[in-house]
Symmetry: C2
Subunit: 194 residues, 2 copies
Amino acid sequence: MPVDDPIARLLKAFNDIQNLSPEVEYQFAELCKKIEVKKHQNLQSIGQTCRTIYFVNEGAARIYYYKEDKDVTEYFAFENDLIIRAESLFTGKPSHKAIQTLKDTSFIAIPAPPLFELFDQYHDLERLFRKLLEKSYVETINRLESLQFQTAEERYQTLMTKSPVVVREIPLKHIASYLGITQVSLSRIRATIT
Amino acid sequence: MPVDDPIARLLKAFNDIQNLSPEVEYQFAELCKKIEVKKHQNLQSIGQTCRTIYFVNEGAARIYYYKEDKDVTEYFAFENDLIIRAESLFTGKPSHKAIQTLKDTSFIAIPAPPLFELFDQYHDLERLFRKLLEKSYVETINRLESLQFQTAEERYQTLMTKSPVVVREIPLKHIASYLGITQVSLSRIRATIT
DNA sequence: CTATTCCTTTTACAAATGTTAAATAATCAG
DNA sequence: CTGATTATTTAACATTTGTAAAAGGAATAG
């Protein structure tokens, strides 16, 4: 495999989290499919049940949904980030959320059912995904904490510190809804802190 | 084991999620310790690194922390609910959160390091905890969604529907901070919808 | 290059929520 | 049972955030 092969790169990132045997790596790589999506396209659409796990190889994407006709961004994903519609994937119910690219993006797509079957044979692979889940869970708890008792300005400051790439590259309207405020409000905040 | 043995009861709930062999059940039960805590006591305190996984056997508890001297409730747990300080447990860092009982409560305590060691031997046990983690993760995402773009009144209505036991049994000040508002605000909301 | 579209800011006003303090109501310990 | 403590509500006012509309900037397609 070439060094810049995206699947090889993903496996390298995985091995930092959980050591995988060459056999598991091979079986896992067999499931992976590289997907190229142009900017502003939906990778998965609302109403569909999620059965695929994605990693961003290059580019950026978001999970969003509509709350009373308003576009709300729930999550941003950049290189090597996992992007899944967790509720739908784990419960088997249709998702009211969609995944959309923010620029031309290449993903690695892993169909969940055969992946979950591999878990039976390869304990380490299941452990890897348990650890990825732990990481996502902790991140979500931290965001919850931030939404629960920080002011909008504090949340924006936190985002600028923790994810400067978001503030640099993502349209403000998406950042606003991600922070749980309107874009007008975010503009005001930016005006006062600059 | 008697039918009302709390560990037996927990194992029964576990088997509904993931089938466990008698051997795993035995090994797991060996780790469990029953803990009785009086009302309003801290089970785990702020600053300590979390290395224990708890289940509520009977009673109720909350996870809370201080945000600028204000007591903020992050999570409520009732019978059969898992209660862990996830960030600390999964990262090994000291927690800025504490666990406190809301009434006289009995817990089942499971020390995490030996549990994680059992995962090496018993694949099914790791899978059980992966599934429990999935469930907690989905719940947290749903709460995030609620905090991100629902009004305080909508969040209170949702809570009354989804967890009437919380509204019935928990002091309003804890519910208010759980919803991300002040108790004054919650009182106002209650006055308008009654 | 230009026109169009989309993004961001600004303004003025409305609504929701926070703050502080006081008044009730409920609970608890002795 | 009673006084003390704790919980909840109410009030008045301040602050934050939302809404709608308009104006200015930036990006994009042809």
